[in-house]
Symmetry: C2
Subunit: 296 residues, 2 copies
């Protein structure tokens, strides 16, 4: 089974099919409506980098599924009319278009709550994983992703300074990407990790995440301008219509492309550092190159 | 400091004042907008019953604040136009009326996520509390409160059988009440508690919670019919307007009052059982009597 199929198979097992509960149906609909599964894939790349093995440990898969649940809830709420008001996501009607706003709101709540139940269950069974669990929740919360969404909503119809856009994006998209890239490290080091005394590998993974996160977001802003909605699977041209501050609107198309190249370069530098430490970084190098030119 | 002031003081410390973040302001607004704080009070009553002491241990307060955060998020999302569409809560404009729907949605997400961060932080610091934390999350989730909200939304504009109303309410309001009444037991028994082998005190507390939860909800349905909004602090007469199935619409006013008396009687029976076991249940007895006639 290839890795994409493996992820889908594990996501399918989160909620029962035909539960008779519309909220579960709505949560399942959004969780299983495709997507690139970039965050699980990043988690697996770090896992392979650290272990040197192709097999994904069950616990890494467990956290990857949990992270994808958090990511999916954030998309459902973000797509609501009171937020970004998007009808189309991954080429399909968004959750509230399909199930109505009430069920979509509860479906998001359910995905978030269920993700946290998974983290708490893991902490209960394996106390040494408690830091990994706590860190995922923090990165999803007001000091991470939700904090970025809040800055985003406060910046509506407003030109914001570039520095603020960096902070916003580091939280809004960067936090979960950091979670994806660093979590396997916390899991493998569970018995000896001291959050107050991080080592250089953990630090390198965090730097890699910061550059990958920015590269991802800059390319996203570029795609909003150059893509066709039927290819991208979501609305395009929205940023300009909504008078949104993005890397393209603040830096111009050329400027944003230049910044993308810079972030890609810095990510590759971190990977060189890790290669020098003896890690096989080839898959990550391919991934970073892909981020530069991805079309969806 | 009386217990009410103590709760407010602890709730005030959850989020910083003047954070500059509208989502935090919105979450803080709803968290600090009064309310009877019934769930924290129930938690303290169980704490006192079990310890025989008036002082509230810090850890019990920590869980009480966390539960009130979960309760508050559920009210914010429940009040949204796409759900119950309420403008008034605790005598004040609801969160989305004050801050707009986008910020209200995120404020709810933040309260839920921050509550879960608190639970995970506690599991990290005190692994023996992991079961109490996990159980709170489960009772808040799709097998508990959210599951009840989902049943509620699926039952809109529909007459449902009485049995289904019991199940709905046991989840929608009952789950967090169980959490309030039982959590201190999990905390005090943290080092020896086996969830697969509950003792009779734990079982008695769960039975007490089931009767208290139903009594609370039946009285709520009665208050919706007999109260003045200015006294109740929220809209009234909504159930009939919304064609909602409640204990009053299904059983009639007399029938519902009779059921309320029955539940109060059963709750008092459990308290007698606990008294016979040597526990001081006087405060709980007063509370159960209050539930019968409460006016807000």
């Amino acid at each position: 089974m290839d890795i994409g199929e493996l992820i889908e198979k594990n996501l399918e097992q989160v909620f029962p099919d035909n539960s008779g509960d519309t909220v579960i149906d709505a949560a399942r609909y959004s969780l299983l409506s495709g997507g690139k599964r970039l965050r699980p894939r990043m988690m697996f790349m770090t896992s392979k980098l650290l272990t040197g093995e192709d097999t994904i440990p069950d616990d890494v898969m467990y956290y990857a599924v949990t992270l994808e649940m958090i990511h999916t809830y954030s998309l459902i709420h973000d797509d609501l009319p009171c937020m970004d008001n998007d009808d189309l996501r991954r080429g399909l009607p968004t959750c509230h278009i399909k199930f109505g706003e009430g069920f979509a709101t509860l479906a998001g709540d359910t995905l978030l709550n269920s993700a946290m139940e998974r983290l708490l269950k893991m902490s209960y069974k394996k106390p040494s994983y408690s830091y990994a669990s706590l860190r995922m929740a923090e990165l999803a919360g007001i000091s991470g992703m939700i904090g970025g969404q809040s800055m985003d909503l406060m910046s509506e119809d407003m030109k914001i300074p570039l520095e603020r856009l960096y902070e916003l994006q580091a939280k809004k998209t960067g936090a979960l990407i950091e979670c994806a890239i660093v979590t396997p490290y916390y899991l493998f080091k569970a018995d000896s990790f001291d959050p107050d005394n991080e080592d250089d590998i953990c630090d390198a993974l965090k730097r890699l995440a910061a550059h990958v996160g920015l590269a991802f977001q800059i390319r996203d802003d570029i795609l909003d301008v150059i893509s066709d909605p039927s290819v991208l699977g979501k609305s395009t041209g929205k940023d300009e219509r909504d008078n949104k501050s993005t890397f393209v609107t603040l830096l111009g198309f050329e400027g944003a492309s230049g910044r993308l190249d810079e972030e890609i370069g810095k990510a590759l530098d971190v990977l060189s550092y890790l290669r020098d430490k003896g890690y096989d970084v080839n898959e990550y190098v391919d991934f970073v190159e892909y981020l530069k030119n991805r079309g969806t």
